[in-house]
């Protein structure tokens, strides 16, 4: 029977089927951060099972609140740090070398086509951009992943989203995924994998594909998968060249084994015309409440946030800087930019991008989740409004009583200069 990519990855990792429909998969990577992992560690200790299945397959980072803001977060960081040391987890990233999990782990080459990946974080779907099956899980699943290297899943059906054509100027991957979520709704992909295909996706960089896959969960999706190709290979080449004897053809042929077969089954197929996508933003408190930015002119903003696992990568900073260059934040508007990893930070310093942000009046923070979930810096006061490049606009997400409008980095930069929501194409 023809299989899609998720079917193939499931088949290759199936360890047990204790009951019909329950698939226990072996895991290639288990990723950990300091918010959801410490409770798993504490529970393992309590049960007298403080072990890890394979320290080389566990990756850990302190990213959500870093540097720690108070005693409680310092304790969370310490639990993770001590645990990584105790179990000889070499791929552990701490202050000075840490960055947002879904940006730093791919950057280090940890994710490969065909892999199975879990993390105690809903945006783990990001790593599907590499042709992997990557799913967010809760603490108990994480705990069992750490202990045994397995996770149980119902076999998700797949939804194929076909995006064809060229994106217009001022339209980015963020606008594409918000448009898709609007169409699917916040629950339209629940228990499904979203497979992104079509010429528009083929032409996207890995950074853009990660923006797409990152938000699969906002439609309820278990994972958002892109098919691994030459773009994937270029991104991973420094890490995989040896495995393939420096032979790109060989690597590509290997990647191809994961591609969905002709005639594979899909629960649904959605077609999107790239040329028709406009710069958009969310309104309200659900990520499927998406409207064209051109309809929101005049909506005042208090804060701009550029960062996160969705849009805190170098190309995102470049897109924002292109609009900010020679401009300043509108009077009364605060700007915060948080490069997602130290490498992105360094590159943005070297190529002058950070100067542009500084001259526009932005505050530059260290790589961290920061304002995205309102746990450390950049929290809104009740009634305040933020134009944000993050992925969630839930009520209270960036602070109690605050309103978050999700949009692309270019759109957020345009709002920064104008002091109100606007169509970023005004600046092109």
């Amino acid at each position: 029977m023809p299989q899609n990519i998720a079917d193939k990855i499931f088949a290759a990792h199936l360890k047990d089927q204790p009951f019909a429909g329950t698939n226990v998969l072996s895991l290639d990577v288990v990723m950990c951060h300091e918010i959801t992992t410490p409770v798993a560690i504490a529970d393992l200790e309590y049960r007298g099972m403080d072990r890890v299945f394979d320290p080389t397959k566990i990756k850990a980072v302190i990213d959500h609140v870093t540097p720690s803001k108070d005693t409680k977060t310092a304790i969370q960081a310490k639990i993770l740090r001590d645990w990584a040391r105790r179990h000889d987890i070499k791929d552990f990233f701490d202050i000075g070398g840490n960055g947002v999990c879904h940006a730093i782990f791919p950057e280090k080459g940890f994710i490969r086509p065909g892999y199975t990946v879990i993390m105690g974080d809903s945006h783990t779907c990001t790593h599907g951009a590499f042709g992997a099956f990557a799913a967010g899980v809760g603490t108990t699943d994480l705990e069992v992943g750490i202990l045994k290297g397995v996770c149980a899943f119902r076999k998700p059906a797949s939804i194929k989203v076909v995006v064809e054509g060229r994106l217009g100027e001022g339209v980015y991957a963020k606008d594409v995924i918000l448009t898709i979520i609007k169409e699917l709704t916040v629950s339209g992909a629940t228990d499904h994998v979203i497979e992104f295909v079509g010429s528009t996706i083929d032409n996207m960089s890995m950074e853009e594909r990660m923006t797409l896959s990152n938000m699969a969960i906002e439609a309820g999706g278990t994972c958002g998968i892109c098919l691994p190709d030459a773009v994937t290979l270029d991104y991973l080449w420094e890490f995989v060249a040896d495995d393939y004897d420096n032979d790109k053809e060989k690597a590509l042929a290997d990647f191809k084994q994961w591609h969905s077969d002709e005639g594979a089954e899909y629960a649904k197929i959605i077609k999107i015309d790239a040329a028709a996508i406009e710069p958009v933003c969310t309104v309200g408190y659900k990520p499927d409440e998406v409207v064209a930015l051109s309809t929101q002119q005049g909506m005042k903003v208090d804060q701009i946030y550029i960062g996160s696992c969705t849009n805190g990568r170098l190309s995102d900073l470049h897109a924002a800087a292109k609009i900010l260059i020679g401009n300043k934040l509108a009077p009364g508007v605060r700007g915060i930019v948080s490069p997602a990893t130290p490498k992105i930070f360094d590159e943005a310093m070297k190529d002058g991008t950070m100067d542009i942000f500084r001259q526009a009046g932005f505050c530059v923070t260290n790589p961290t989740c920061g304002a995205c979930l309102g746990m450390s810096n950049g929290v809104l006061a009740p009634g305040e409004v933020c134009a944000s490049t993050t992925n969630r606009n839930f009520v209270g997400r960036m602070g109690r009583g605050g309103m978050v409008h999700l949009m692309s980095p270019a759109s957020a930069a345009a709002a920064a200069v104008k002091g109100e929501l606007c169509d970023p194409r005004e600046f092109i």
């Binding site: 360890k15 047990d16 204790p18 009951f19 019909a20 429909g21 329950t22 226990v24 918010i35 959801t36 410490p38 409770v39 504490a42 529970d43 049960r47 099972m49 609140v65 108070d70 409680k72 977060t73 304790i75 969370q76 639990i79 105690g120 974080d121 809903s122 783990t124 967010g136 899980v137 809760g138 603490t139 108990t140 699943d141 705990e143 069992v144 202990l147 045994k148 397995v150 149980a152 119902r154 916040v186 629950s187 629940t190 228990d191 309820g220 278990t222 659900k286 979930l373 309102g374 746990m375 969630r392 839930f394 009520v395 209270g396 997400r397 109690r400």
Partner: protein, 175 residues
Amino acid sequence: MKSFGGEVIFLDRSDINTDEIIPARYLTEVKKEALKPYLLEDLEIDGFDLKGEKLQRAKIVVSRENFGCGSSREHAPWAFEVNDINIVIAESFARIFRQNMFNCGMMAIELAKEQIDSLFALSAKGDVLAEVDFAGKKISFKVAGEALTLDFALNEFDAALVEAEGWVGYADSKY
């Protein structure tokens, strides 16, 4: 097994997310019990009183579609658990939340829209009490002399997790 059954609280909205169930500002807690006072703190829906007796007494939640969407935080089921709420009944659930419930030995039960509607209709008549027959997979809802008994289905794996009181014990004995 955990104990199931008791008074029902009705949350009449779809897409109730885990940020509403337990806001991110409480994720710095490492002990489940510490979450107790903050359950549903950011939920704003008509007729829901966060400080009210009803929430204090509730043992079962009944809600609409896509319950528990958003963040993967298992703090959401825990916040229910430490408040003695071990069952959520809804038309549908977000995947991670549903799995987290069973992983903790709790239940996320899906019923058809018409059944959920009839439960909401019952709630208009007064405080609803529910009795759960796990072996027979039935729940009886009682209010003001009236009763409504509904069958529910669990897949075998979910039922096994409820009986094993969660996934850690199950997986450790098996893998």
